[in-house]
């Protein structure tokens, strides 16, 4: 549980604030009433208010407010926690799970949620002919794929075993919390989804009910009095002003027009330099690993020595410090800090151009080589980083041609393998096993093995970790696999993102969520009387 300690440590040290999931730790008692205005920073609009359909982080903010899932992510514990499910009992070697459901959860239309809603929601996600984003979390359920292919209407692996109980059979051993905390598996009311108003006026189980949406400007939700957690939510209203433009967000936050603002590296430094603003920054190590992905089907990236040489040739530390402005944790290997399997004793690749040159010479490239580096314009894992790396690689004789593309195109290029190397950000958690599978030789490029790394020894470690029932052995295997990746250097390990959220001094109860910091369960948030918003 070092991980947990570390996480709380960050929250305490930098924000002077305990995660709200442990409200007792907060010196003050939560005040009822008030409004919080949390900026939606990633796009100029919400894409889709239906949680089953959207995988976008920005939409997730709203989904967490209006809807609920069987589990939620407990940021304090760093693990999924029971939510709509009140008990989960495994059987048959962890492949069958019986989930007891809350009997006090009401939809905003006043109807009580029951087992039928769970069955219907999961079946909907797999329904043939429609691409629901949440389907990926249900696909491991037995019979789900048959529904997806249109062969049958019902998922054989999901059974209603009581008014408030379902039994789910999986095709392999799983931890259901890691699947069902995702907002795209929200439990929805069938009768509302089928109404034509569903797309514009969603109804869910969340602590706040939909009030108003001005597309492109803001979404407002107000307190739902029949929410099942006693005394919650505290706030009268949650507002999501949409502000995709960072410079405008900065001014609005300083002008106290919004209560939270996600910070990029530039603003992170600026806010840290301001004595007042500095006090109220929430930081968390997010489960995203930034790296330069090399295509092992392209020479000379098939040579481990070349890949190691690149890791040695780049002064990663100074880029993290100066360019990422310490709004990142230097990466050692693939697994990030908050994920089990991360080894805090592991030392990252040393900046050592001499050694890099030696490795290149050993690989038969004493004069270096040239490659094309595809990048987006993202400030944290895109062009600015590439620009800083280019002169460093030049020192060891490696020449770089850059190819700039939009983010929307980057994914396509990665999935099709049409690259020599690209810089990107990958979600590397919260489930370590799933994360490490991205280098398993059986994983296709289109799933996530974009490097096409193939190594039998590594495959075996992962297979063993997947089947063992011994938690300690599993953790050990994960650590070993992670160490193996360090040595194999399938990518240039750059950093793990440090998400930083500035908040106004009157806001309390924010959660340091490592899966995505803007994702806040709003029932825990409260504002004290100094809040100017009415």
């Amino acid at each position: 549980m070092k991980r947990l300690a570390l996480l709380s440590g960050i929250a305490i040290a930098t924000a002077g604030l305990f995660a709200a999931l442990a409200p007792a730790a907060d010196a003050q008692t939560p005040r009822k009433g008030g409004v919080v205005r949390m900026t939606a920073p990633y796009a100029s609009s919400f894409g889709n208010l239906d949680p089953h359909r959207s995988g976008r982080s920005q939409d997730g903010q709203v989904h967490m407010t209006l809807h609920r899932t069987l589990y939620i992510w407990d940021s304090a514990k760093g693990a999924p926690a029971l939510e709509l499910a009140t008990a989960a009992t495994p059987s048959a070697g962890g492949t069958v799970w019986t989930l007891k459901l809350r009997e006090d959860a009401f939809f905003h239309n006043g109807r009580k949620m029951n087992a039928d809603d769970v069955v219907w929601s999961f079946t909907r996600l797999m329904s043939a002919g429609e691409g629901f984003v949440g389907a990926r979390w249900i696909r491991l359920v037995q019979g789900a794929v048959a529904v997806e292919k249109g062969e049958t209407k019902e998922i054989s692996g999901i059974k209603k075993t009581g008014e408030f109980e379902v039994q789910i059979t999986f095709m392999q051993k799983v931890e259901p919390g890691f699947l069902f905390y995702n907002m795209s598996t929200s439990i929805l009311p069938k009768e509302e989804v089928e109404k034509p108003t569903w797309a514009t006026a969603p109804v869910g189980l969340g602590p706040f009910k939909f009030k108003e949406h001005i597309p492109g400007s803001r979404l407002v939700a107000e307190r739902f009095d029949k929410f099942y957690k006693p005394g919650m939510p505290y706030l009268d209203r949650v507002e999501f002003p949409i502000m995709a433009e960072a410079s405008a967000r900065d001014i609005a936050f300083r002008n106290k027009e919004v209560d939270t603002s996600i910070l990029g590296p530039v603003q992170y430094v600026a806010y840290n330099n301001d004595a007042n603003l500095k006090k109220n920054i929430l930081e968390v190590a997010e489960v995203f690993t930034r790296s330069m992905v090399m295509n092992h089907e392209v020479k000379p990236f098939d040579d481990k020595r070349v890949r190691q040489a690149i890791n040695h040739a780049i002064n990663t530390q100074i880029i993290v410090e100066r360019l990422a402005r310490n709004k990142a944790y230097r990466a050692t290997s693939w697994l990030p800090i908050t994920v089990p399997g991360y080894d805090k004793d592991m030392k990252p690749y040393a900046y050592d151009p001499a050694k890099a040159r030696a490795l290149l010479a050993e690989a038969g490239l004493p004069n270096g080589f040239e490659f094309e580096w595809t990048t987006s314009q993202n400030e944290s894992w895109g062009l600015p980083i590439v620009e800083a790396v280019i002169p460093m690689l030049a020192q060891v004789g490696i020449k770089v041609k850059t190819k700039v593309v939009e983010v929307a195109v980057l994914t396509d290029i990665a999935l099709k393998g049409e690259f020599q190397a690209y810089i990107g950000s990958s979600q590397t958690g919260p489930d370590p096993l799933q994360t490490l599978r991205c280098y398993h030789s059986s994983t296709p490029r289109t799933s996530c093995n974009v490097t096409q790394y193939k190594n039998a020894e590594y495959d075996k470690m992962l297979d063993d970790a997947g089947t063992t029932d011994d938690a300690a052995r599993k953790l050990d295997l994960l650590k070993k696999a992670n160490a193996h990746l360090y040595d194999a250097a399938p990518v240039w390990f750059f950093n793990y993102n440090k998400a930083t959220l500035a908040f106004q001094p009157w806001v309390h109860g924010l959660q340091a969520n490592p899966t995505e910091l803007v994702h806040q369960y709003p029932e825990y948030i409260w504002v004290d009387a100094t809040s100017p918003a009415k």
């Binding site: 960072a246 410079s247 900065d250 530039v266 330099n273 880029i319 620009e387 002169p391």
Partner: protein
Amino acid sequence: MKLRANLAIGGGLTLLSLFVGVFGPWLAHTHPIMDANLMNAELPPSGEFWFGTDQQGRDIFSRVMYGAQISLTVGIGSQLINTAIGTTLGVTAGYWGGWWDDFVNGLTNLMLAIPSLIFALAIMAILGPGLTSLMIALGLTNWSYTCRISRAQALAIKSQGYVQAARVLGYGDMRIMFTQILPNTLGPIIVIATLGMGGSILAEAALSFLGLGVRPPSPSWGSMLSDARETITTAPWLSLFPGLAIFLTVLGLNLLGDGLRDVLDPQSRSRR
């Protein structure tokens, strides 16, 4: 008096920009990309770094010097494309008339109907960010005025005696268009191109802001300004200098365009 002030200030500023555009790399202290030195990040202007340094520790003065090349290339390149398309279509349409004229007219109206920034945005999304794409995007979207004017000129000149005479002498259509009609359309077209260059430089900045501009290896003024916008409250010099460079260049081009209009295009001269 006014007329000369326009030409003098506008011409002066434009010459300065061109000078920097051509000789920028020699004026620059350091290389704009290779000399990233993260130890020097975000220093305010000083004796060593006249315009300060940016987030990557690069000398902003040098980057502004290099940036001139990119921004002016975008401006000049896109206007060359515009002028080529516009005059070719316009002169041929006016000279040949008939279905071709109808077609060109339709095309011109079509281009005028789509706001050019939006058209450019679409083309940039298709071609991907980059210098060439930008020149093409801005070059494909702003030729309607050039086309209209050269068409009108061609129509007017076509019926004049010397063109008729040239035809009688057996001059080919191409030769007549190039030697008789084109030179007569030059004045107004130079004016449009000059004003259009300023427009292109601003459009480049707007597209950079939207995330579709010219991106390095070489910095353009628009992308520098766009990158610096987050630090406007904390390190204003990052945006001030590229902003001023854009402002002065476009101001110069606008004044020069106004001045040239008075000289080259007396029909539309508005002053006494």
